[in-house]
Amino acid sequence: MAEYALILISTILVNNIVLVKFLGLCPFMGVSRKLETAMGMGLATTFVLTLSSISSYMINEFLLIPLNIEFLRTISFIFVIAVVVQFTELVVHKTSPILYQVLGIFLPLITTNCAVLGVALLNVQEGHGFLESALYGFGAAVGFSMVLVIFAAMRERIAVADVPVPFQGAAIALITAGLMSMAFMGFAGLVK
C-alpha cells in the first residue's frame, strides 16, 4: 500500500511530468491561458493518460512480449493512444458539448502530447505491473493537471500585470514556467 502511495507522490510532486521530466510542454504552454480551459484539458488528459497507460501495459504484456515483437512497442503504443484519444473525443462530444467546444483542437492534440507516450514507455522501462502502471499514469496526469491549473492561474494574473515590453507574452510565460520548475526541484529527495 505504502508503495502505491509513494508512486503517486513521486509522480505528482517529485518527478512531475512537466516540470521535472519536461514532457508535455506544448499543452502546458498552449492551454494555460484561461483557468477553465486548463481544468478541462487537465481532466481530459487525466482520463486519456490513465486509460492509455493501462491499455499500453496490456498490449505490451499480452501481445508484444508473448509474440516476441517488442520492437513494435512505440508504434503500437502510438496506435493505442490515438484510439484512446479518439474514443475520449467521442465520449466528451456526447456527454459534455460545452467541454468539447472549450477544448476544441486541444482534444485531438492529446495524441501528440509527448507525456502520454512518455508515460507508457517509462512504465515499460521501469518494469511496472498492472496496478503500478495505472497509478503511474494517473499520478503523472494529476501532476500535469495540477501544474497546468497553477500555471493558468498565474498567467491570468500576469496578463493584467505591468510586464516590461520585451518580456511580454511568451517570454514571461516561459520565465514563469522555469521558476515553477525550479520550485519543484525543492521536492527532490522527498521520496528516494
Binding site: 498490449i59 516476441n68 513494435l72 465520449v91 456526447k94 476544441g104 483542437i105
Partner: protein
C-alpha cells in the same frame, strides 16, 4: 516477421472495431446545416437579403426558401462557399439585393450630430455609442458597414468611408469560424 504483421493487423482490426462501435454508441447529432450556413455568412446583419439578419437568412437557405445569391456584403466569395457547402451551382449576385461593395465603415460627423439616438436604435450590432442630446460615435471595430444607420439620421451626419485592409487592420480569420473537422473550408472568405 509474419507474426509482427499479423499481430499489428489484428490490433488495428480490434481497435477499429472498438472505435466503430463507439462512434455508433456515442453518436451526436451533427451541426445542423443552418449553423454551417450561418458560419459562412459575413454577420453584417444588414438585412439586404430581405431577411432580418444573417441567422434567419441561413435558416431560410437551409429550408430551401431562399437562394444563395442574396448576400451583397459577402459577395462572390460567400456565394462560392455556400455553393460548395450545399453542392449546388454558384450563381451571380442577385441585383435586387444590392451590389458588392468594398468594405465600408460608418463615420459620424461629430459637429453635425444632434444626439437624436435614432442611429443607435437602427444599428444591428450595437456599434454606435452615445445618449440623448449628446454626440454619438461609431466603434470602428464593431461596425459592419451595413448602412442601416444612414436612412434614420435626420441631419445626414453619417458618412460611409471605404476601409482598405492594411497591415495594421488585417486580422486573422476568427478561429471560431474554422471548422477543424472539415478543414479550413470556412476560414477562406
Amino acid at each position: 516477421m509474419l507474426t509482427a504483421i499479423i499481430a499489428i493487423t489484428l490490433l488495428a482490426l480490434v481497435l477499429g472495431l472498438v472505435l466503430g462501435y463507439a462512434s455508433i454508441k456515442f453518436k451526436v447529432e451533427g451541426d445542423p446545416i443552418a449553423d454551417q450556413i450561418d458560419k459562412l455568412l459575413p454577420q453584417t446583419q444588414c438585412g439586404q437579403c430581405s431577411f432580418p439578419g444573417c441567422r434567419p437568412y441561413a435558416e431560410a437557405i437551409a429550408a430551401g426558401e431562399a437562394d444563395i445569391n442574396r448576400c451583397p456584403p459577402g459577395g462572390e466569395a460567400t456565394i462560392e462557399a455556400l455553393a460548395d457547402l450545399l453542392e449546388v451551382e454558384a450563381k451571380p449576385l442577385d441585383d435586387e439585393c444590392g451590389v458588392e461593395k468594398p468594405k465600408t465603415l460608418a463615420v459620424i460627423d461629430e459637429d453635425r450630430c444632434i444626439g437624436c439616438t435614432l442611429c443607435i436604435q437602427a444599428c444591428p450590432v450595437d456599434a454606435i455609442l452615445g445618449s440623448a442630446k449628446h454626440m454619438h460615435t461609431v466603434i470602428a471595430d464593431e461596425c459592419t458597414g451595413c448602412e442601416l444607420c444612414l436612412p434614420p439620421c435626420p441631419v445626414d451626419c453619417i458618412d460611409m468611408v471605404e476601409t482598405e485592409v492594411n497591415p495594421n487592420t488585417w486580422r486573422w480569420p476568427d478561429p471560431a469560424r474554422i471548422d477543424i473537422k472539415v478543414g479550413d473550408k470556412n476560414g477562406a472568405e
